[in-house]
């Protein structure tokens, strides 16, 4: 029989984070990622955390795993040699992309190369029209010729990408059957399965990326699962998806592209959980690790979902410089600003941060591993926010002098700034970058930022959270328990879930076909249910439906939540009203008299999240004596002042301490800004409130 301990493992760009929960016990660990063989770090981490928890492999009841491996395979172009079978006449669509330039003034810019080179994009005569009628039948002779080419080219994976296959997948399905007969071991992706949605570039980009990473991910998952089983760990093993749901390894093998943004998704789940626990209706979730920062909004205890994502932004992390991936994701903005992000000076003597990151190898200058660039972490060391002797639980000592030298050389000397001001410049600019990203993201969602609670986690976020809150006029910041490994903690709370989206045009007027739509929805539900039930045979399920709707003539749709109940004739009036209300929420106005249409439908089917334990009230208790005093730079005056340092585990529930001070734990440090008071709530989260202490 399996045990009771739940274990989550999140591989990030710099660190591999682990969180273990066993009843009331919570244990965490953070180790450096091992990019050349990520499973090694995972296994090392598992050994470490089991040892810390004092339990054995048989005590585990579940392992939940998220990884950046899929993303990295695309960024580093280390996927399989991949071919594409494509509708004749359209083999360049994935290279032409949007036919635009994402950087207006740089005449030397390049678009990212497609994952499939032109000579491996093999045309096949066939054609559907937009309604799914066959215009040109599938040319099986051409298919046979393509198979010969595939054999000769020794490809590892194939994506089958036909026009309008979202409307009628028959040709893609037939092509796969023929292909698998000739090449049974080849991994095959159908664009109509991985992304049955209109817009050929996004669908084919998604399909080719899925094919490209499929063999790599399959091998990795096999190695990892074999090793885990070899360690006498027999419990179920799940992967976490980019939409924050658990999925079985089998689905992960079929659609590995759905794993690309899984770590950040775990963080959003944690924030949503904290929101429900503490009764905070509106949250700004802020996750900052070694390489990037992620920001997302949580309303009513739920993150926003989207199906637009871009992987491998090659050009200064600029929007448009990556490959579009249309999969269900938690809607968030990611910017190249983490602890390892490099600070430099541009041609106008302005401080620039990132997107280049030193990662874990060689890491910031203060790591003493050969890195000489000045990073955000180096600035934090100079400012006294990170204690060099107690970084990552004291697992390795940071070199304060190396940090100072790097900051002085990169920023101080060229701008003629004293060391402390140079370091403050770095931290102010990175905090401003994150604040600006949050502002623009909120505008895109049509949401406000003020009066939200900032939930900050990830190794670097608690260092910058109170300053970010000030910039956004936010008065409350929560640093959850386990904040340093927040994404992994989020995995432990995630439901088993699956999302399905389908394109189906439908005018929202008297032509609305309730029966046809109900048939489509029943089909979608059955497909999602099959996947979810494989991982959760009898848990109660929650279905969340949205329609992608727009005013007729507009270029883009908005996702409108619709009731889960089947449509009845005449429901178009209600649907139109839902759209108009949502449109008004997002854009501040609606347009009377304009026709409405829907072009897509999506379903998220998830196991019901148990109601979180309520946050118990606490009684005020005395704060413990500080661990020590440290010299911290005040951002307002650039003066160093003596401030107390508290150990997080020494702060009991109900204890409160006034800023400025530091609260340290193994995986991170919380900087309590001068106008903030920190208290520990009934769940062990640090709650920082701006204003006078009560």
């Amino acid at each position: 029989m399996s045990g009771t301990a739940r274990l989550a493992v999140d591989i990030g760009g710099t660190f591999t984070d682990l969180a273990l929960q066993d009843g009331e016990r919570n244990v965490t660990a953070k180790i450096l990622t091992t990019p050349e063989a990520p499973e090694r770090g995972v296994l090392e981490g598992i050994d470490l955390i089991l040892q810390r928890a004092g339990i054995g492999p048989r005590d585990l009841s579940i392992i939940i795993h998220g990884t950046t491996l899929a993303t990295n395979a695309i960024i580093e172009r280390k996927g399989a040699r991949t071919a594409m079978l494509v509708t004749e006449g359209f083999r360049d669509s994935i290279a032409m992309a949007y036919e635009d330039r994402f950087e207006q003034y740089d005449i030397m810019m390049e678009r990212p190369a497609p994952l499939v080179p032109r000579e491996l994009r093999l045309p096949v005569a066939e054609r559907m029209d937009a309604r799914g009628n066959i215009v040109v039948p599938l040319d099986e002779a051409a298919l046979a010729a393509a198979i010969d080419s595939l054999k000769a080219a020794e490809v590892g994976a194939v994506a089958i990408c036909f026009l309008h296959s979202y409307a009628n997948a028959a040709h893609e399905i037939r092509a796969r059957a023929v292909l698998q007969q000739a090449l049974p071991d080849l991994s095959v992706t159908l664009s109509s399965e991985v992304c049955p949605e209109i817009r050929e570039y996004e669908r084919w980009s998604t399909a080719s990326a899925n094919a490209y990473i499929q063999p790599v991910m399959a091998r990795y998952l096999k190695r990892l699962v074999d090793e885990i089983r070899a360690r006498d760990i027999a419990c179920p093993f799940y992967m976490i998806t980019s939409a924050g749901g658990l999925t079985e390894v089998e689905t992960a093998r079929r659609f590995p592209i759905r794993l690309v943004e899984s770590g950040p998704a775990g963080g959003a789940i944690l924030s949503a959980h904290v929101a429900r626990q503490c009764g905070y209706d509106r949250i700004l979730s802020f996750d900052m690790g070694g390489t990037t920062a992620k920001i997302c909004l949580i309303d009513g205890g739920e993150p926003h979902y989207s199906r637009n994502f871009e992987v491998a932004r090659e050009y200064r992390f600029l929007k448009g410089s990556g490959l579009p991936i249309r999969i269900p994701v938690i809607d968030m903005v990611e910017i190249g600003a983490g602890g390892g992000s490099v600070a430099s000076i541009d041609g106008l003597s302005r401080i620039q941060i990132g997107p280049q990151s030193m990662g874990s190898q060689p890491g910031p200058a203060c790591y003493g591993r050969g890195g000489t660039a000045a990073t955000v972490t180096d600035a934090d060391v100079v400012l006294g926010r990170i204690d060099p002797d107690h970084f990552a639980g004291g697992s390795f000592a940071l070199q304060g002098e190396a940090a100072a030298g790097a900051v002085q050389a990169a920023i101080g000397t060229p701008l003629d700034l004293p060391l402390v001001e140079a370091a403050l410049g770095i931290s102010e600019v990175v905090e401003e970058n994150m604040a600006n990203a949050a502002r623009v993201h909120a505008i895109e969602l049509g949401k406000a930022l003020g009066e939200r609670t900032l939930v900050a986690f990830g190794g670097a976020a608690p260092l910058h959270a109170t300053r970010l809150a000030e910039k956004l006029a936010i008065d409350r910041v929560v640093i959850p328990r386990g904040a340093g490994v927040g994404s992994a903690v989020g995995f432990l709370i995630a439901p088993v879930a699956y999302e399905i989206a389908r394109s189906r045009f439908m005018p929202i007027d008297e032509r609305f076909a309730a029966d046809a739509m109900n048939a489509l929805r029943a089909e979608m539900y059955a497909a999602a249910e099959a996947v979810v039930r494989a991982g959760a045979p009898d848990a109660p399920l929650v279905a969340t439906w949205t329609a992608d709707m727009r005013y007729t003539g507009q270029g883009h749709e908005i996702a409108v939540p619709i009731p889960a109940t089947p449509f009845a004739p005449g429901d178009q009036t209600d649907l139109a009203a839902l759209f108009v209300a949502r449109y008004g929420e997002q854009f501040g106005r609606s347009i009377p008299g304009l026709a409405v249409e829907a072009i897509g439908w999506s379903l998220r089917l998830a196991t019901q999240t148990p109601a979180p334990e309520p946050c118990p009230a606490t009684r005020a208790v005395a704060a413990p004596a500080p661990l020590r005093m440290t010299r911290l730079v005040d951002p307002a005056s650039a003066e160093r002042g003596e401030v107390p340092v508290y150990a997080r585990q020494a702060l009991a529930q109900g204890a409160a301490v006034a800023g400025p001070c530091l609260i340290v734990e193994d995986e991170t440090t919380t900087v309590v800004g001068p106008r903030f008071t920190a208290s520990i709530n009934g769940l062990g989260h640090i709650v920082l409130e701006r204003g006078a202490p009560s």
Binding site: G89, F90, R91, D92, S93, A95, M96, D100, R101, Q104, Y105, D106, I107, M108, P117, R118, E119, R127, D129, A130, V135, L163, H164, I198, R199, E200, D346, G347, L348, L415, L417, P418, L424, G425, E428, V429, E432, N433, N436, R439, V440, I443, E444, E470, K471, F505, Y551, G553, Q554, G555, H556, F587, G588, R589, I591, L594, I599, P635, A638, R675
Partner: protein, 603 residues
């Protein structure tokens, strides 16, 4: 807590403080532009991001622009604000006012573009102006096309007017517009979007000024413009002063146009003068000067100062002139609806001048060869009243309008091939074929790179693309052609060959004109072969291995590899090294290959 409470000048934090506010200002205009993109109606706004947004000081100098803006808009919008201040002096403006125009000469070049300018007040004092521009779906008149003979045929004209007076919208103007356009709900909706995005910008700016406790933008604006000016001067000073001339012949509507430019690199500015350029056309490809200036300064900036922020200080250092009577200084009431066809060619003209200039250390400037440059959009329509065909052929035909953005190849770049099927200088995105087909009976049977269309060279021009367009309906359909580079190709540079000319024809072989509305008869198919970019450097200097790669990828034919590049391949398309050496040696005996000034041959 702010670090930025106007610290004394000797406080080193002041410098950080200024940068933070500059970054914030850029974020403010980005929010302004996003609001417009999210709420706009026109396809070019929503699908293509063809909008501009910016913040100005009270003298009308642009301090920051959103990076979404396309060059034709943003640089002309930058000038438009001054026209508004002339007409409505600052001291007469009140909180809640907003001003509007679609004047092609004082706005952004044609009646389809509306510009809205809004003053921002803080504590009752005007502190800044926000401006934004977008292209509306319809403006009445003939619709979007070059066939008008006077601007009066091109739609309704709204002079510089008050859109809102202390918060009260000018309903009379709204009613007049509503009555004169084909899609009133969408057009009026866009006007409100323009006004509300300026309001968002204004609110964000006031919040920033409150946070940093500043009462005006003089200090910050001065810092931004000073820094930009310094960086611009540094960029210009790196170039050897001199005068460089260029002439480019393009198709025109009914006769060719010569665009003649004389570019002067001075110590502290760059001047471009278009004396000698052809006179105006009888059709709507004429360019109001504001738009000429916008695309010319864009071209200069791309080469001379690509990373310097695009604001008033940068634009002040690029002085553009065109004497009266040219197509680039078109005067009222000439038709200007498709001024972009001509305007988008102007960066290529300035590139030709700048390619002759050198940095003071002797290196040439990084200048591309000529490219397709004007967009090759598919603008098709069908149904009764929309197609020039007998009414009985159109009876029962489906009515539709298709507007999708497409592009040929760009010119080769120094050290790099050109970009295939990519918009330049415009920044618009295409519309997916599946979307086009879902909303019309149009079916696109082919859309792929056009082999051999990229001008041969040490660096190859970008390839154009071929589109084959048919209809699933039983009736003929019409297209509005707005194309150039059909008669005169994009030219190569330094021994690089020209890109392929564009071709517009029917599958049966009949040629169509590059400009104007035409009919695709029933049973016919339209074939659009878009131009390729020009090459740079002698093609015989291109690494034969790269030529072989291009052949294997189908970008260059085996024949062209042989004739243009002097590269021979075996039947399995591997490189035939001996035959290649022989071919190149034979060619060298006839003419010595010329190496482009900026680099050594690949081998």
């Amino acid at each position: 807590m702010s670090i930025a409470n106007n610290p004394p000048a000797n406080n080193p934090l002041a410098m950080i403080h200024q940068q933070i506010m500059w970054d914030r200002l850029i974020s403010v205009v980005e929010e302004q532009a996003q609001t417009l993109i999210r709420t706009g109606f026109s396809t070019s706004t929503r699908e293509a991001g063809d909008v501009s947004a910016g913040v100005f000081n009270v003298r009308g100098e642009m301090l920051a622009q959103a990076v979404t803006g396309t060059p034709g808009h943003v640089n002309s919008m930058a000038r438009a604000v001054v026209h508004f201040l002339d007409r409505f002096p600052l001291e007469t403006m009140r909180d809640g006012d907003a001003f509007i125009t679609n004047d092609p000469w004082k706005g952004t070049g044609h009646l389809h573009d509306f510009t809205v300018v809004t003053p921002t007040f803080r504590n009752g004092v005007p502190v800044a102006l926000f401006a934004c521009t977008c292209h509306v779906v319809d403006i009445g008149g003939r619709g979007m096309g070059p066939d008008g003979r006077q601007v009066f045929e091109e739609g309704i004209y709204i002079p510089l007017l008050r859109f809102a007076d202390a918060g009260t919208v000018n309903e009379t103007m709204i009613e007049i517009i509503r009555g004169n356009v084909r899609e009133p709900i969408q057009v009026i909706g866009d006007l409100y979007s323009l006004a509300s995005c300026n309001d968002i910008g204004g609110r964000r700016l006031v919040a920033m000024m409150d946070e940093f406790e500043i009462d005006d933008l003089e200090g910050l604006g001065g810092h931004i413009l000073e820094r930009t000016h310094e960086a611009t001067m540094e960029a210009i000073a790196a170039i050897e002063p001199g005068i460089y001339e260029n002439r480019m012949r393009v198709d025109g509507y009914d006769r060719p146009i010569d665009i003649v430019a004389r570019l002067t690199v001075a110590e502290d500015h760059i001047a471009v003068d278009f004396t000698g350029t052809s006179g105006p056309s009888s059709f709507g490809i004429n360019v109001p000067f504001c738009y000429t200036e916008a695309y010319t300064s864009f071209g200069v900036k791309c080469i001379v100062a690509p990373t310097v922020p695009n604001n008033a200080a940068l634009l002040a250092a690029i002085r553009v002139t065109a004497p009266p009577g040219t197509i680039l200084s078109a005067e009222h009431p000439l038709p200007v609806a498709t001024r972009h066809i001509t305007g988008q060619l102007l960066p290529d003209v300035t590139f030709g001048c700048l390619s002759q200039a050198r940095y003071r250390d002797g290196r040439p400037l990084p200048v591309p060869a000529e490219g397709t440059s004007c967009l090759w959009n598919l603008f098709a329509m069908g149904g009764p009243g929309r197609v020039d065909a007998p009414p009985e052929e159109l009876a029962g035909a489906q009515s539709f309008n298709v507007m999708s953005f497409h592009s040929g190849g760009t010119g080769a770049r120094p050290g790099k091939d050109g970009l295939s099927a990519t918009a330049f200088p415009s920044g618009v995105r295409n519309v997916p074929i599946e979307i086009t087909e879902a909303g019309s009976p149009i079916i696109v049977l082919r859309k792929e790179y056009r082999a051999d269309s990229g001008g041969a060279g040490l660096h190859r021009g970008g390839l154009g693309q071929v589109m084959e367009v048919d209809t699933l309906d039983i009736a003929p359909f019409a297209i509005s052609a707005n194309y150039d580079r059909v008669d005169f190709p994009p030219r190569g540079r330094d021994g690089g060959r020209d890109g392929a000319r564009g071709v517009l024809r029917l599958a049966s072989g009949a040629r169509l004109r590059g400009k104007g509305q035409q009919t695709v008869p029933k049973g016919e198919r339209l074939i659009i072969e878009m131009p390729g970019g020009g090459g740079i450097g002698d093609p015989r200097l291109r690494d034969p291995a790269r030529v072989a790669d291009d052949v294997r990828a189908g970008m260059v034919s085996r024949d062209a590899a042989r004739s243009d590049y002097g590269v021979a391949l075996h039947d399995d398309l591997s490189l035939d090294i001996d035959a290649t050496a022989a071919l190149r040696a034979a060619a060298a005996r006839q003419t010595a290959p010329s190496t482009p000034a900026h680099e050594e041959p690949a081998r």
